[in-house]
Amino acid sequence: MKFEIEARVRRATGFALDATIACEAVALGLVGPSGSGKSTLLDVVAGVEPGGRILLDREDVSALPMHRRRIGYVVQDALLFPHLSVRANLLYSPHASGLGDVPASLDIHTLLDRMPRHLSGGERRRVALARAILSRPRLLLLDEPFAGLDEARRREAMWLLARLRAQTRLPMIVVSHVAEEIVGLTDYAVRLEDGRVAASGPSTSVLRAGETGMDNYLVGTVVGEQRVRVDGVDLAAVLPPGASGDVRLACYGRDVILAREKPAAISARNCVETTVRSVERTGTLAMVELGAPKMRAVITSQAADALALEAGAPVVAIIKATAIAYLGGTR
Protein backbone atom coordinates (compact mmCIF):
# COMPACT_ATOMS: atom_id res chain seq x y z
CA MET A 1 0.00 0.00 0.00
CA LYS A 2 1.15 3.49 -0.77
CA PHE A 3 1.10 5.63 2.36
CA GLU A 4 1.00 9.42 2.20
CA ILE A 5 0.35 10.66 5.68
CA GLU A 6 0.49 14.20 7.03
CA ALA A 7 -0.55 14.36 10.65
CA ARG A 8 -0.82 17.55 12.64
CA VAL A 9 -2.29 17.50 16.14
CA ARG A 10 -2.09 20.06 18.89
CA ARG A 11 -3.12 19.07 22.41
CA ALA A 12 -4.00 21.33 25.29
CA THR A 13 -1.22 19.71 27.30
CA GLY A 14 1.33 21.24 24.96
CA PHE A 15 2.01 18.03 23.06
CA ALA A 16 2.22 18.53 19.32
CA LEU A 17 2.38 15.90 16.61
CA ASP A 18 3.81 16.98 13.29
CA ALA A 19 4.68 14.01 11.12
CA THR A 20 4.89 13.37 7.42
CA ILE A 21 5.27 9.87 6.04
CA ALA A 22 5.52 8.84 2.41
CA CYS A 23 6.37 5.29 1.49
CA GLU A 24 5.18 2.11 -0.08
CA ALA A 25 5.03 -0.98 2.09
CA VAL A 26 2.91 -3.94 3.08
CA ALA A 27 3.68 -3.42 6.71
CA LEU A 28 4.72 -0.08 8.11
CA GLY A 29 6.36 0.03 11.50
CA LEU A 30 6.00 2.93 13.92
CA VAL A 31 8.43 3.03 16.82
CA GLY A 32 9.53 5.46 19.44
CA PRO A 33 9.53 6.01 23.20
CA SER A 34 6.30 6.39 25.18
CA GLY A 35 4.67 9.72 24.57
CA SER A 36 6.31 10.24 21.22
CA GLY A 37 2.96 10.32 19.46
CA LYS A 38 2.69 6.85 17.95
CA SER A 39 -0.82 6.17 19.23
CA THR A 40 -1.90 9.68 18.30
CA LEU A 41 -0.70 9.10 14.78
CA LEU A 42 -2.73 5.89 14.64
CA ASP A 43 -5.74 7.85 15.89
CA VAL A 44 -5.30 10.34 13.07
CA VAL A 45 -5.06 7.61 10.46
CA ALA A 46 -8.09 5.80 11.86
CA GLY A 47 -10.13 8.98 11.96
CA VAL A 48 -10.54 9.13 15.73
CA GLU A 49 -8.52 12.33 15.81
CA PRO A 50 -8.99 15.00 13.21
CA GLY A 51 -5.96 16.81 11.93
CA GLY A 52 -4.30 15.20 9.01
CA ARG A 53 -4.25 14.36 5.40
CA ILE A 54 -4.23 10.66 4.78
CA LEU A 55 -3.85 9.17 1.34
CA LEU A 56 -3.90 5.40 1.07
CA ASP A 57 -3.09 4.13 -2.40
CA ARG A 58 -3.73 7.65 -3.61
CA GLU A 59 -7.22 7.72 -2.10
CA ASP A 60 -7.88 10.59 0.29
CA VAL A 61 -9.58 9.14 3.35
CA SER A 62 -9.21 12.24 5.48
CA ALA A 63 -12.62 13.52 4.53
CA LEU A 64 -14.30 10.24 5.38
CA PRO A 65 -15.81 9.69 8.81
CA MET A 66 -14.22 6.91 10.82
CA HIS A 67 -16.82 4.29 10.03
CA ARG A 68 -16.31 4.67 6.32
CA ARG A 69 -12.56 4.51 6.14
CA ARG A 70 -12.42 0.71 6.23
CA ILE A 71 -9.45 0.84 8.56
CA GLY A 72 -9.36 -1.82 11.25
CA TYR A 73 -8.04 -0.63 14.59
CA VAL A 74 -6.81 -3.22 17.07
CA VAL A 75 -6.08 -1.50 20.36
CA GLN A 76 -3.90 -2.77 23.15
CA ASP A 77 -6.76 -3.69 25.46
CA ALA A 78 -8.63 -5.71 22.85
CA LEU A 79 -11.89 -4.05 23.93
CA LEU A 80 -14.25 -6.83 23.06
CA PHE A 81 -17.88 -5.79 23.54
CA PRO A 82 -18.63 -7.24 26.97
CA HIS A 83 -22.29 -7.84 26.33
CA LEU A 84 -21.73 -9.90 23.17
CA SER A 85 -20.40 -13.42 22.77
CA VAL A 86 -17.18 -14.04 20.88
CA ARG A 87 -19.14 -15.01 17.80
CA ALA A 88 -21.26 -11.85 17.98
CA ASN A 89 -18.12 -9.79 18.48
CA LEU A 90 -16.49 -11.36 15.44
CA LEU A 91 -19.50 -10.77 13.25
CA TYR A 92 -20.16 -7.26 14.59
CA SER A 93 -18.97 -5.37 11.55
CA PRO A 94 -21.64 -4.63 8.97
CA HIS A 95 -19.05 -5.65 6.39
CA ALA A 96 -18.45 -9.05 7.90
CA SER A 97 -19.81 -11.93 5.89
CA GLY A 98 -19.43 -15.14 7.79
CA LEU A 99 -16.52 -16.38 9.83
CA GLY A 100 -14.70 -18.38 7.20
CA ASP A 101 -11.47 -19.88 8.38
CA VAL A 102 -10.33 -16.83 10.27
CA PRO A 103 -11.19 -18.22 13.72
CA ALA A 104 -9.34 -21.42 12.97
CA SER A 105 -6.28 -19.60 11.69
CA LEU A 106 -6.13 -17.60 14.91
CA ASP A 107 -6.91 -20.60 17.08
CA ILE A 108 -10.09 -19.21 18.58
CA HIS A 109 -12.62 -21.47 16.90
CA THR A 110 -13.29 -23.26 20.20
CA LEU A 111 -14.21 -20.02 21.94
CA LEU A 112 -17.03 -18.83 19.74
CA ASP A 113 -19.81 -19.16 22.27
CA ARG A 114 -17.93 -17.81 25.25
CA MET A 115 -18.37 -14.36 26.75
CA PRO A 116 -15.40 -11.97 26.74
CA ARG A 117 -15.12 -11.93 30.50
CA HIS A 118 -14.31 -15.64 30.43
CA LEU A 119 -11.36 -15.33 28.09
CA SER A 120 -7.69 -14.94 28.91
CA GLY A 121 -5.78 -11.86 27.80
CA GLY A 122 -4.16 -13.61 24.87
CA GLU A 123 -7.45 -15.10 23.72
CA ARG A 124 -9.07 -11.70 23.83
CA ARG A 125 -6.34 -10.19 21.69
CA ARG A 126 -6.71 -12.87 19.09
CA VAL A 127 -10.47 -12.38 19.02
CA ALA A 128 -9.97 -8.63 18.64
CA LEU A 129 -7.60 -9.23 15.76
CA ALA A 130 -10.00 -11.65 14.11
CA ARG A 131 -12.82 -9.20 14.57
CA ALA A 132 -10.86 -6.49 12.82
CA ILE A 133 -9.85 -8.80 9.98
CA LEU A 134 -13.41 -9.94 9.49
CA SER A 135 -14.51 -6.36 8.93
CA ARG A 136 -12.58 -6.60 5.65
CA PRO A 137 -10.54 -3.45 6.08
CA ARG A 138 -8.17 -2.03 3.56
CA LEU A 139 -5.63 -1.37 6.30
CA LEU A 140 -5.04 -2.78 9.76
CA LEU A 141 -3.69 -0.73 12.64
CA LEU A 142 -2.07 -2.65 15.47
CA ASP A 143 -1.26 -0.70 18.60
CA GLU A 144 1.44 -2.47 20.65
CA PRO A 145 0.34 -5.98 19.72
CA PHE A 146 3.08 -7.51 21.84
CA ALA A 147 2.75 -5.41 24.95
CA GLY A 148 2.51 -7.36 28.15
CA LEU A 149 3.23 -10.71 26.55
CA ASP A 150 5.88 -13.03 27.83
CA GLU A 151 8.59 -14.46 25.58
CA ALA A 152 6.73 -17.53 24.45
CA ARG A 153 3.50 -15.73 23.68
CA ARG A 154 5.32 -12.92 21.97
CA ARG A 155 6.98 -15.32 19.57
CA GLU A 156 3.64 -16.93 18.98
CA ALA A 157 2.04 -13.57 18.28
CA MET A 158 4.85 -12.54 15.94
CA TRP A 159 4.50 -15.76 14.08
CA LEU A 160 0.74 -15.23 13.77
CA LEU A 161 1.15 -11.72 12.43
CA ALA A 162 3.88 -12.74 10.04
CA ARG A 163 1.71 -15.51 8.70
CA LEU A 164 -1.23 -13.13 8.48
CA ARG A 165 0.83 -10.74 6.45
CA ALA A 166 2.06 -13.49 4.20
CA GLN A 167 -1.35 -15.04 3.61
CA THR A 168 -3.59 -12.04 3.32
CA ARG A 169 -1.19 -9.36 2.15
CA LEU A 170 -3.34 -7.06 4.31
CA PRO A 171 -1.53 -3.76 4.67
CA MET A 172 -0.84 -2.89 8.28
CA ILE A 173 0.73 -0.27 10.46
CA VAL A 174 2.32 -1.78 13.55
CA VAL A 175 3.18 0.36 16.53
CA SER A 176 5.66 -0.74 19.13
CA HIS A 177 7.98 0.90 21.59
CA VAL A 178 10.30 -2.07 21.26
CA ALA A 179 11.85 -1.80 17.82
CA GLU A 180 13.42 -5.25 17.69
CA GLU A 181 10.01 -6.88 17.85
CA ILE A 182 8.81 -5.58 14.57
CA VAL A 183 11.94 -5.50 12.47
CA GLY A 184 11.05 -8.78 10.88
CA LEU A 185 7.38 -7.92 10.51
CA THR A 186 7.66 -4.66 8.65
CA ASP A 187 9.17 -3.41 5.42
CA TYR A 188 9.37 0.25 6.23
CA ALA A 189 9.73 1.93 9.56
CA VAL A 190 9.28 5.40 11.02
CA ARG A 191 10.83 6.41 14.31
CA LEU A 192 8.99 9.14 16.23
CA GLU A 193 10.48 11.30 18.91
CA ASP A 194 8.54 14.08 20.64
CA GLY A 195 5.89 14.14 17.98
CA ARG A 196 8.31 14.43 15.08
CA VAL A 197 9.77 11.97 12.64
CA ALA A 198 13.34 11.32 13.77
CA ALA A 199 14.17 8.70 11.17
CA SER A 200 12.40 6.79 8.44
CA GLY A 201 13.41 4.22 5.92
CA PRO A 202 13.59 0.49 5.31
CA SER A 203 13.02 -1.33 8.58
CA THR A 204 16.39 -2.95 8.84
CA SER A 205 18.19 0.31 8.64
CA VAL A 206 15.89 2.32 10.89
CA LEU A 207 15.05 -0.34 13.42
CA ARG A 208 18.31 -2.22 13.71
CA ALA A 209 19.88 1.11 14.49
CA GLY A 210 18.10 1.04 17.84
CA GLU A 211 19.60 -2.22 18.80
CA THR A 212 22.53 -2.27 21.18
CA GLY A 213 25.28 -4.71 21.77
CA MET A 214 26.63 -5.12 18.26
CA ASP A 215 30.26 -6.10 17.92
CA ASN A 216 31.25 -4.06 14.89
CA TYR A 217 30.99 -0.29 14.70
CA LEU A 218 32.24 1.22 11.48
CA VAL A 219 32.54 4.64 9.96
CA GLY A 220 32.41 5.08 6.22
CA THR A 221 31.59 7.45 3.42
CA VAL A 222 28.63 7.13 1.11
CA VAL A 223 29.98 6.64 -2.40
CA GLY A 224 26.87 5.70 -4.31
CA GLU A 225 23.33 4.40 -4.13
CA GLN A 226 23.38 2.02 -1.16
CA ARG A 227 27.17 1.89 -1.21
CA VAL A 228 29.56 2.89 1.53
CA ARG A 229 33.36 2.90 1.53
CA VAL A 230 34.68 1.58 4.84
CA ASP A 231 38.43 1.26 5.44
CA GLY A 232 39.01 1.47 1.70
CA VAL A 233 36.54 -1.32 0.94
CA ASP A 234 33.19 -0.70 -0.79
CA LEU A 235 30.31 -2.31 1.05
CA ALA A 236 26.68 -2.58 0.02
CA ALA A 237 24.35 -1.51 2.84
CA VAL A 238 20.67 -0.60 3.13
CA LEU A 239 20.66 3.16 3.61
CA PRO A 240 17.71 5.49 4.14
CA PRO A 241 16.92 7.74 1.19
CA GLY A 242 19.06 10.82 1.13
CA ALA A 243 21.92 9.41 3.20
CA SER A 244 25.23 11.00 2.20
CA GLY A 245 28.66 11.95 3.45
CA ASP A 246 30.18 10.21 6.44
CA VAL A 247 27.97 7.65 8.08
CA ARG A 248 28.11 5.32 11.05
CA LEU A 249 27.32 1.65 10.55
CA ALA A 250 27.17 -1.42 12.72
CA CYS A 251 26.65 -5.14 12.44
CA TYR A 252 26.82 -8.32 14.46
CA GLY A 253 29.88 -10.47 14.28
CA ARG A 254 27.66 -13.50 13.97
CA ASP A 255 26.23 -12.09 10.75
CA VAL A 256 29.64 -12.36 9.04
CA ILE A 257 30.23 -15.58 7.08
CA LEU A 258 33.80 -16.66 6.21
CA ALA A 259 34.83 -18.67 3.18
CA ARG A 260 38.09 -19.79 1.53
CA GLU A 261 36.97 -18.67 -1.88
CA LYS A 262 34.56 -16.17 -3.29
CA PRO A 263 31.23 -17.88 -3.80
CA ALA A 264 29.39 -17.57 -7.08
CA ALA A 265 25.72 -16.69 -7.54
CA ILE A 266 25.09 -15.82 -3.91
CA SER A 267 22.59 -13.27 -2.68
CA ALA A 268 24.92 -11.58 -0.23
CA ARG A 269 26.04 -8.29 -1.76
CA ASN A 270 29.31 -8.15 0.09
CA CYS A 271 31.97 -10.74 -0.56
CA VAL A 272 35.19 -9.06 0.52
CA GLU A 273 38.58 -10.65 -0.01
CA THR A 274 40.58 -9.88 3.13
CA THR A 275 43.01 -11.42 5.59
CA VAL A 276 42.71 -12.78 9.08
CA ARG A 277 44.49 -10.66 11.62
CA SER A 278 43.91 -12.89 14.62
CA VAL A 279 41.84 -15.81 15.83
CA GLU A 280 40.76 -16.16 19.45
CA ARG A 281 39.05 -19.31 20.54
CA THR A 282 36.71 -19.29 23.56
CA GLY A 283 35.25 -22.73 23.96
CA THR A 284 32.71 -23.34 21.20
CA LEU A 285 33.13 -19.94 19.52
CA ALA A 286 35.97 -18.31 17.71
CA MET A 287 36.44 -14.53 17.32
CA VAL A 288 38.13 -13.82 14.01
CA GLU A 289 39.50 -10.30 13.59
CA LEU A 290 39.68 -9.27 9.93
CA GLY A 291 41.88 -6.78 8.08
CA ALA A 292 39.80 -4.57 5.86
CA PRO A 293 37.15 -3.70 6.70
CA LYS A 294 38.29 -3.79 10.29
CA MET A 295 35.65 -6.01 11.78
CA ARG A 296 35.13 -9.20 13.67
CA ALA A 297 33.50 -12.41 12.55
CA VAL A 298 32.05 -14.77 15.14
CA ILE A 299 31.99 -18.43 14.03
CA THR A 300 32.19 -21.79 15.78
CA SER A 301 35.60 -23.15 16.76
CA GLN A 302 34.77 -26.16 14.66
CA ALA A 303 34.34 -23.96 11.59
CA ALA A 304 37.60 -22.13 12.33
CA ASP A 305 39.38 -25.48 12.48
CA ALA A 306 37.71 -26.72 9.33
CA LEU A 307 38.84 -23.65 7.42
CA ALA A 308 42.29 -23.75 9.07
CA LEU A 309 42.08 -20.08 9.97
CA GLU A 310 45.14 -18.43 11.45
CA ALA A 311 46.76 -15.03 11.48
CA GLY A 312 47.71 -13.92 7.99
CA ALA A 313 45.53 -16.43 6.17
CA PRO A 314 43.50 -15.08 3.24
CA VAL A 315 39.74 -15.31 3.68
CA VAL A 316 36.55 -14.04 2.08
CA ALA A 317 34.15 -12.20 4.39
CA ILE A 318 30.53 -12.50 3.30
CA ILE A 319 28.17 -9.93 4.80
CA LYS A 320 24.54 -9.40 3.79
CA ALA A 321 23.65 -5.79 3.07
CA THR A 322 20.61 -6.17 5.31
CA ALA A 323 22.82 -7.18 8.21
CA ILE A 324 24.51 -3.81 8.25
CA ALA A 325 22.69 -1.27 10.37
CA TYR A 326 22.76 2.42 9.58
CA LEU A 327 23.23 4.40 12.77
CA GLY A 328 23.24 7.87 11.39
CA GLY A 329 25.56 10.59 10.20
CA THR A 330 28.83 11.44 11.96
CA ARG A 331 27.74 14.86 13.13
Binding site: A46, G47, V48, P65, M66, H67, R68, R69, R70, I71, G72, Y73, V75, D77, L79, F81, P82, H83, Y92, S93, P94, H95, P116, R117, R131, A132, S135
Partner: protein
Amino acid sequence: MNSIWLSITVGLAATLGSLPVAVAVAWFLERTRSGLRDLVQTVVMLPLVLPPVVTGYLLLKLFSPIGPVGRALSSLGTPVAFHWMGAVVAAGVVGLPLFVLMTAQAMKAIDPRYEIVSGSLGASRWRTFWRVTLPLTWPGILSGAVIAFARGLGEFGATIILAGRIPGETQTIPLEIYAELDAPGGERRILGLIVASVAIGTACVLASRALDRWYRRRLEIER
Protein backbone atom coordinates in the same frame (compact mmCIF):
# COMPACT_ATOMS: atom_id res chain seq x y z
CA MET B 1 -58.15 5.84 45.44
CA ASN B 2 -58.64 7.20 41.97
CA SER B 3 -55.77 9.58 42.54
CA ILE B 4 -53.35 6.73 43.18
CA TRP B 5 -54.13 5.15 39.84
CA LEU B 6 -54.00 8.55 38.15
CA SER B 7 -50.65 9.34 39.76
CA ILE B 8 -49.17 6.09 38.48
CA THR B 9 -50.45 6.56 34.94
CA VAL B 10 -49.33 10.18 34.87
CA GLY B 11 -45.94 9.13 36.24
CA LEU B 12 -45.53 6.34 33.69
CA ALA B 13 -46.56 8.57 30.80
CA ALA B 14 -44.19 11.30 31.98
CA THR B 15 -41.27 8.88 32.34
CA LEU B 16 -41.87 7.19 29.00
CA GLY B 17 -42.22 10.57 27.32
CA SER B 18 -39.06 11.98 28.82
CA LEU B 19 -37.02 8.80 28.19
CA PRO B 20 -35.96 9.61 24.64
CA VAL B 21 -35.27 13.20 25.66
CA ALA B 22 -33.13 12.14 28.61
CA VAL B 23 -31.17 9.61 26.55
CA ALA B 24 -30.64 12.05 23.69
CA VAL B 25 -29.51 14.85 26.00
CA ALA B 26 -27.23 12.54 27.99
CA TRP B 27 -25.68 11.19 24.77
CA PHE B 28 -25.19 14.75 23.55
CA LEU B 29 -23.48 15.74 26.79
CA GLU B 30 -21.30 12.67 27.14
CA ARG B 31 -20.52 11.65 23.61
CA THR B 32 -20.11 14.80 21.57
CA ARG B 33 -17.65 17.64 21.79
CA SER B 34 -20.18 20.33 20.92
CA GLY B 35 -19.67 23.80 22.31
CA LEU B 36 -23.37 23.96 23.15
CA ARG B 37 -23.03 21.38 25.89
CA ASP B 38 -22.77 23.89 28.71
CA LEU B 39 -25.88 25.72 27.59
CA VAL B 40 -27.90 22.55 27.17
CA GLN B 41 -26.83 21.24 30.56
CA THR B 42 -27.77 24.51 32.27
CA VAL B 43 -31.23 24.58 30.74
CA VAL B 44 -31.89 20.94 31.51
CA MET B 45 -30.82 21.36 35.12
CA LEU B 46 -33.09 24.37 35.69
CA PRO B 47 -36.14 22.45 36.93
CA LEU B 48 -33.93 20.94 39.59
CA VAL B 49 -32.86 24.28 41.02
CA LEU B 50 -35.90 26.41 40.37
CA PRO B 51 -38.77 26.39 42.83
CA PRO B 52 -41.31 23.99 41.34
CA VAL B 53 -43.99 26.70 41.24
CA VAL B 54 -41.68 28.78 39.07
CA THR B 55 -41.24 25.83 36.73
CA GLY B 56 -45.02 25.45 36.69
CA TYR B 57 -45.47 29.13 36.03
CA LEU B 58 -43.04 29.13 33.11
CA LEU B 59 -44.70 26.05 31.66
CA LEU B 60 -48.10 27.70 32.03
CA LYS B 61 -46.90 30.79 30.20
CA LEU B 62 -45.69 28.51 27.43
CA PHE B 63 -48.77 26.31 27.18
CA SER B 64 -51.42 28.81 28.24
CA PRO B 65 -54.67 27.92 26.53
CA ILE B 66 -55.11 31.53 25.48
CA GLY B 67 -51.66 31.79 24.02
CA PRO B 68 -50.55 30.72 20.54
CA VAL B 69 -48.98 27.41 21.56
CA GLY B 70 -51.89 26.39 23.79
CA ARG B 71 -54.45 27.21 21.19
CA ALA B 72 -52.59 25.30 18.47
CA LEU B 73 -52.29 22.25 20.71
CA SER B 74 -55.97 22.44 21.61
CA SER B 75 -57.00 22.51 18.00
CA LEU B 76 -54.76 19.49 17.38
CA GLY B 77 -56.60 17.67 20.12
CA THR B 78 -53.76 17.64 22.66
CA PRO B 79 -54.32 20.51 25.06
CA VAL B 80 -51.74 20.71 27.81
CA ALA B 81 -52.57 23.37 30.39
CA PHE B 82 -55.37 22.35 32.77
CA HIS B 83 -55.56 18.91 31.20
CA TRP B 84 -54.20 15.46 31.89
CA MET B 85 -51.33 16.19 29.52
CA GLY B 86 -50.37 19.13 31.71
CA ALA B 87 -49.94 16.84 34.70
CA VAL B 88 -47.78 14.61 32.52
CA VAL B 89 -45.67 17.51 31.25
CA ALA B 90 -45.21 18.91 34.77
CA ALA B 91 -44.13 15.51 36.11
CA GLY B 92 -41.87 14.88 33.14
CA VAL B 93 -40.15 18.25 33.30
CA VAL B 94 -39.35 18.11 37.00
CA GLY B 95 -38.07 14.56 36.69
CA LEU B 96 -35.93 15.26 33.64
CA PRO B 97 -32.84 16.73 35.37
CA LEU B 98 -32.40 13.66 37.54
CA PHE B 99 -33.11 11.41 34.60
CA VAL B 100 -30.45 13.13 32.50
CA LEU B 101 -27.94 13.13 35.36
CA MET B 102 -28.26 9.42 36.01
CA THR B 103 -28.28 8.45 32.35
CA ALA B 104 -25.23 10.61 31.68
CA GLN B 105 -23.50 8.97 34.61
CA ALA B 106 -24.25 5.55 33.16
CA MET B 107 -22.83 6.59 29.81
CA LYS B 108 -19.78 8.10 31.42
CA ALA B 109 -19.01 4.73 32.95
CA ILE B 110 -18.76 3.11 29.54
CA ASP B 111 -15.30 3.31 28.04
CA PRO B 112 -15.72 5.64 25.03
CA ARG B 113 -13.18 3.53 23.19
CA TYR B 114 -15.84 0.85 22.71
CA GLU B 115 -17.53 3.30 20.43
CA ILE B 116 -14.28 4.07 18.65
CA VAL B 117 -13.71 0.39 18.03
CA SER B 118 -17.28 0.05 16.80
CA GLY B 119 -16.71 2.90 14.37
CA SER B 120 -13.48 1.40 13.12
CA LEU B 121 -15.35 -1.81 12.37
CA GLY B 122 -17.62 0.14 10.08
CA ALA B 123 -20.63 0.84 12.28
CA SER B 124 -22.14 4.32 11.89
CA ARG B 125 -22.75 6.44 15.00
CA TRP B 126 -26.39 5.49 14.93
CA ARG B 127 -25.63 1.77 14.72
CA THR B 128 -23.00 2.13 17.42
CA PHE B 129 -25.54 3.80 19.67
CA TRP B 130 -28.08 1.00 19.29
CA ARG B 131 -25.71 -1.95 19.37
CA VAL B 132 -23.09 -0.81 21.86
CA THR B 133 -23.97 2.28 23.89
CA LEU B 134 -27.59 1.49 24.59
CA PRO B 135 -27.16 -2.20 25.49
CA LEU B 136 -24.38 -1.29 27.86
CA THR B 137 -26.18 1.62 29.50
CA TRP B 138 -29.81 0.62 29.59
CA PRO B 139 -29.88 -0.68 33.15
CA GLY B 140 -28.48 2.70 34.19
CA ILE B 141 -31.13 4.41 32.09
CA LEU B 142 -33.79 2.32 33.76
CA SER B 143 -32.44 3.25 37.16
CA GLY B 144 -32.72 6.91 36.20
CA ALA B 145 -36.23 6.31 34.89
CA VAL B 146 -37.34 4.87 38.20
CA ILE B 147 -36.08 7.91 40.08
CA ALA B 148 -37.60 10.28 37.52
CA PHE B 149 -40.90 8.42 37.93
CA ALA B 150 -40.81 8.82 41.69
CA ARG B 151 -39.93 12.50 41.42
CA GLY B 152 -42.66 13.21 38.88
CA LEU B 153 -45.19 11.29 40.90
CA GLY B 154 -44.54 13.50 43.88
CA GLU B 155 -44.63 16.82 42.10
CA PHE B 156 -47.05 19.37 43.51
CA GLY B 157 -46.09 22.94 42.64
CA ALA B 158 -45.62 22.59 38.92
CA THR B 159 -48.61 20.29 38.58
CA ILE B 160 -51.06 22.51 40.41
CA ILE B 161 -50.02 25.53 38.39
CA LEU B 162 -49.87 23.97 34.97
CA ALA B 163 -52.64 21.41 35.27
CA GLY B 164 -54.71 22.56 38.22
CA ARG B 165 -56.66 20.22 40.44
CA ILE B 166 -59.16 18.33 38.32
CA PRO B 167 -60.36 15.17 40.03
CA GLY B 168 -60.04 12.19 37.76
CA GLU B 169 -57.85 14.04 35.32
CA THR B 170 -55.01 15.88 37.02
CA GLN B 171 -55.58 15.26 40.72
CA THR B 172 -52.52 13.29 41.59
CA ILE B 173 -51.76 12.07 45.11
CA PRO B 174 -50.00 15.25 46.29
CA LEU B 175 -52.83 17.42 44.99
CA GLU B 176 -55.48 15.39 46.72
CA ILE B 177 -53.54 15.38 49.98
CA TYR B 178 -53.17 19.15 49.86
CA ALA B 179 -56.87 19.67 49.16
CA GLU B 180 -57.93 17.32 51.94
CA LEU B 181 -55.72 19.00 54.50
CA ASP B 182 -58.21 21.84 54.87
CA ALA B 183 -61.37 19.80 54.61
CA PRO B 184 -63.17 18.76 57.75
CA GLY B 185 -62.27 15.14 58.43
CA GLY B 186 -59.87 15.23 55.52
CA GLU B 187 -56.87 14.01 57.43
CA ARG B 188 -58.47 10.67 58.02
CA ARG B 189 -59.23 10.27 54.35
CA ILE B 190 -55.69 10.99 53.25
CA LEU B 191 -54.03 8.48 55.52
CA GLY B 192 -54.28 5.86 52.81
CA LEU B 193 -52.75 8.24 50.29
CA ILE B 194 -49.85 9.01 52.56
CA VAL B 195 -49.14 5.33 53.06
CA ALA B 196 -49.34 4.78 49.31
CA SER B 197 -46.90 7.65 48.69
CA VAL B 198 -44.34 6.30 51.09
CA ALA B 199 -44.72 2.78 49.73
CA ILE B 200 -44.28 3.84 46.11
CA GLY B 201 -41.31 6.06 46.94
CA THR B 202 -39.56 3.31 48.89
CA ALA B 203 -40.17 0.78 46.14
CA CYS B 204 -38.63 3.14 43.61
CA VAL B 205 -35.49 3.70 45.64
CA LEU B 206 -35.01 -0.02 46.18
CA ALA B 207 -35.62 -0.75 42.51
CA SER B 208 -33.11 1.88 41.48
CA ARG B 209 -30.45 0.41 43.72
CA ALA B 210 -31.09 -3.11 42.50
CA LEU B 211 -30.76 -1.93 38.93
CA ASP B 212 -27.49 -0.20 39.76
CA ARG B 213 -26.06 -3.43 41.12
CA TRP B 214 -27.15 -5.45 38.13
CA TYR B 215 -25.72 -2.82 35.82
CA ARG B 216 -22.35 -2.97 37.49
CA ARG B 217 -22.19 -6.72 37.18
CA ARG B 218 -23.02 -6.54 33.49
CA LEU B 219 -20.03 -4.36 32.80
CA GLU B 220 -17.60 -6.56 34.69
CA ILE B 221 -14.55 -7.42 32.69
CA GLU B 222 -11.31 -8.73 34.08
CA ARG B 223 -8.48 -6.49 33.12
